[in-house]
């Protein structure tokens, strides 16, 4: 641990302020709480929102896992782990079950999270209404007045044009019947994991200076018309070529030589775990 910096890099005052914002976010599920986003030695847009949450919450007993697109080994994930390791002395892990804090971009792990775990999302665009309204002062009002017709209209337009809802990621959810929330760029596949979960979900957007939360056991419903049910990506008939899983989110790959399509679990540590259990 590098002692030239405060523990977990941020000064204690900053961390306390961020934790206060987290408390407010937990108290109002799905509501975007503004916070004084700090500068970090990582470019904004590279997960500084999530990282500030991690740094504010982490303590000596924590075990940290960082994933990017489901992978523990991507450059971004490794760099964030290295950085947190430099300014704390915490243990890091690839094992989802072992981690107390998981920082992620794009995925929720396949292993169901427990009540002693926190999943921290790095969020690029926190505002779910941005797609229908560019002006912040208007989207704020829309939330305040629970005026969500434009986002429903977006869904309807998609039905008119394509006969189905075509939003692939950042699929909007209604949190506890009150706020429409952007679940960050997770695939639709992961949306149901947000509903009535055992763990705490925290969302940090560094560039946009917003924090929001889904406390444990909160109702999180993906928006859908009564007669057109919400649908996740379907991987029917496809299996992971490494571990044989049929029920995970799969990445599509191409064989460089043959050009043939194949599939792999996007959650690399889960994939490994399945393989180890099989070989045991």
């Amino acid at each position: 641990m590098n002692n030239n910096y405060n523990y977990a890099f941020l000064d204690e005052g900053s961390k306390r302020e961020i934790r206060r914002s987290v408390l407010k976010a937990v108290a109002i599920p799905g509501y975007q709480v503004p916070f004084g986003s700090r500068e970090l030695p990582i470019g904004r847009g590279w997960g500084t929102g999530g990282l500030q949450l991690t740094l504010s919450l982490i303590g000596p007993d924590d075990i940290l896992k960082v994933i990017d697109q489901g992978s523990d080994e991507s450059v971004n994930a490794v760099n964030i782990k290295k950085f947190v390791g430099l300014c704390t002395d915490i243990k890091t892990t690839k094992n989802t079950r072992e981690a107390t804090i998981i920082q992620t971009r794009h995925r929720i792990p396949e292993v169901p999270l427990r009540s002693n775990q926190i999943l921290i999302f790095q969020v690029p665009i926190p505002e779910p209404l941005r797609v229908v309204e560019p002006r912040e002062e208007i989207t704020k009002k829309m939330h305040a007045e629970k005026d969500y017709s434009p986002i429903w209209l977006q869904l309807y337009e998609s039905l008119v044009k394509y006969k189905k809802v075509t939003i692939p990621t950042e699929y909007p959810c209604m949190v506890e019947g009150r706020y429409v929330m952007n679940p960050s760029p997770i695939p639709k596949f992961d949306n149901p994991k947000l509903n009535k979960a055992d763990c705490l979900y925290l969302f940090g957007a560094g560039r946009e200076k917003k924090i929001y939360a889904i406390p444990p056991y909160t109702e999180v419903i993906s928006l859908a018309f009564d007669d057109v049910p919400f649908e996740r990506e379907s991987f029917a008939g496809k299996i992971c070529c490494l571990c044989g899983s049929k029920n995970t989110y799969l990445d599509e790959m191409f064989d460089a030589q043959t050009g043939e399509k194949f599939y792999q679990c996007s959650d690399t540590s889960y994939c490994q775990e399945v393989r180890q259990n099989v070989s045991k």
Binding site: S149, L153, V160, F225, D226
Partner: protein, 277 residues
């Protein structure tokens, strides 16, 4: 003819002013502008009732305040003075311009429907025609796509837009079609009052005739009250039961349309009627 009826809409002293005004404005008006302080009185102390099922024509030259009046009713801007009450909103006891944002939205979605003079104000040009209409139905609370489709289809058929084009955006449509999409949208939630601001202006005569015919059908079928704004007395003559004549932000004459046409009192109306013959 209306004596025993409760008005659908009552407007009292509606005034929309651009500028702060001065103590002597009303004595120094040149058209609608005060020569002393340059304040523009776009609508100047307008009062009238709209009765159930009637078509009330509003006629007046360009700049007389017709759109100002209509758009105030639809909450696009708020009057400097005045009240408006609706039979269907708090038993006609509350001024709609004092209503909460949520109440205003409710009024716009369920009690009134608006067709703008300029379709760009009334339509999302990049969304499909179907969505433009569904927007109203969604705003009124529907979350059932099948029911919405059915209603959208019904509304488009009523204005004679082929349902094969419902997924196209209005920007691909002719002016007359755009106005008909606006009319469908305005009727989506069966409002009690339809606000039509120059629906036929700028359209070819044959297209005009079709839209006017449509309005006549709506009137016959829905028993809806219609505020019909036009600077064209021919349009008013064809459709309006009663007529209000506006000039420089004020009402200068009002009465049964036939009566106004046969025996205009105000010099401006006389000139208008004369030019019609």
């Amino acid at each position: 003819m209306y004596l025993n009826e409760i008005p659908e809409l009552t407007i009292k002293n509606l005034t929309v002013r651009y500028g702060d005004g001065c103590p002597d404005c009303q004595n120094n008006l040149e058209k609608n502008r005060c020569t002393v302080c340059e304040t523009i009185w776009a609508a100047n102390d307008i009062s009238f009732d709209v009765y159930p099922g009637e078509v009330l024509g509003i006629v007046g030259e360009s700049g007389s305040g017709k759109s100002t009046l209509m758009r105030s009713l639809y909450f696009d801007f708020f009057p400097t003075f005045g009240t408006a009450t609706l039979k269907n909103f708090k038993d006609g006891e509350a001024n709609i311009w004092d209503a909460s944002v949520a109440e205003q939205r409710m009024i716009k979605n369920t009690i009134m429907g608006m067709v703008y003079q300029n379709p760009i104000l009334g339509l999302r040009m990049d969304y499909s025609a179907a969505s433009n209409i569904a927007e109203k139905i969604i705003a009124a609370g529907s979350r059932n796509a099948f029911q919405m489709n059915a209603r959208v289809t019904e509304l488009l058929e009523a204005v004679e837009i082929p349902t094969s084009r419902m997924s196209e955006p209005p920007k691909n449509f002719s002016g007359g079609m755009q106005q008909r999409v606006q009319i469908s949208k305005a009727l989506a939630n069966n409002p009690a009052i339809l606000l039509l601001d120059e629906v036929t202006t700028g359209l070819d005569l044959s297209v005009q005739a079709r839209v006017l015919d449509l309005i006549r059908k709506i009137k016959a079928k829905h028993g809806i009250s219609i505020l019909l704004v036009s600077h064209d007395l021919a349009v008013i003559r064809m459709l309006a039961d009663r007529t209000i004549v506006m000039l420089d932000g004020k009402i200068v004459e009002s009465g049964l349309t036939d009566q106004i046409l046969e025996d205009p009192q105000h010099a401006y109306t006389q000139q208008l009627v004369h030019s019609l013959i």
